[in-house]
Symmetry: C2
Subunit: 205 residues, 2 copies
Amino acid sequence: MEEKVIPDIVVGRLPLYLRALQRMAEEGRQVTSSQELGERLGISAAQIRKDLSQFGEFGKQGTGYNIEYLVEQLQQILHVDRDWDLAVVGAGDIGSAVMRYKGFADRGFCVKMIFDSDPDKVGTQIGNFIIQDTALMEGAIKAAGIKVAMIAVPASHAQDVADKLVKAGIKAILNYAPLSLNVPPDVRVQHIDPAIHLQRMTYYL
Amino acid sequence: MEEKVIPDIVVGRLPLYLRALQRMAEEGRQVTSSQELGERLGISAAQIRKDLSQFGEFGKQGTGYNIEYLVEQLQQILHVDRDWDLAVVGAGDIGSAVMRYKGFADRGFCVKMIFDSDPDKVGTQIGNFIIQDTALMEGAIKAAGIKVAMIAVPASHAQDVADKLVKAGIKAILNYAPLSLNVPPDVRVQHIDPAIHLQRMTYYL
């Protein structure tokens, strides 16, 4: 794993494996197989075995995978065996929903701060968080050493926010604004745009 | 295009091209090139030309692409030259944010109804919509002929909701619940799970 470059498409499937395995663990399960995992995920058992084999030998033939062990290994591989602090920019509907979202627990993320540029919102609370002024964002993120951020502002502001986040040292951005962001090569961006996901399906309808 | 099977990864890029082109059109632009489009999207110009050439001849060498024409063509290819009615299931934070989301206009989608199983929510309003009882979902969706739905319920209820949507004739599901859904082969599912997207980036950090 040290030197080998893993294709990004393989990396993209690992979080799905981890999520399914964590769910099995919650169900009290201890052992699973690539067949069962594949059925849950709609991915072939051969594909799963091939993907996991890139990182080591996790299962024994005939006995399957120890779920707890494989969860730990995948958490290490994906670097979520620790909690990453998150900064959220934009306190509209989506930003607020993210702040209240319970789904980050046990998955490696913890929301730490939220910013908005609307003077009517700055200083008010969402859950336990006080909305801070976007003007203070760069300093606050740097001081806290935060590396991961979410952008939930209108498209017209998103590139400007992204530029400021990059200056603040952010290395991974989850972008809810409906446009592609330009960032330096050492910064990762993932996009969530429901219309894009829907259009990808209507092609087939 | 009639007989040729287009790889799903190519289909997945078309909505990104469409979004960027629609944005250029809003900016008052009339002509673009694969180079410019590529710079906006972080995709190579050669890749864009290759993807588009699968569907026909949209640009002239030296003069580039007519933006309005290419938007129309991509809308036809993706079947969003019409509006698809949407049913939303789950009136929590995410479902409510989706109901209020303005980003579907001009992108082929129109939210038509929302359902929840919580008696305290049924009958109350989100925007202009009255939340309906999930028990009535199958009949209401069938009667309206809706083919596209979003699931925004807790993971523990999502498969059950998906089964009911399939019975109601839904053919495309955008799933916000953090688990993989099992559906028949003629039903498409796309997943939005922020933790999955984040884990895909922390691998590289």
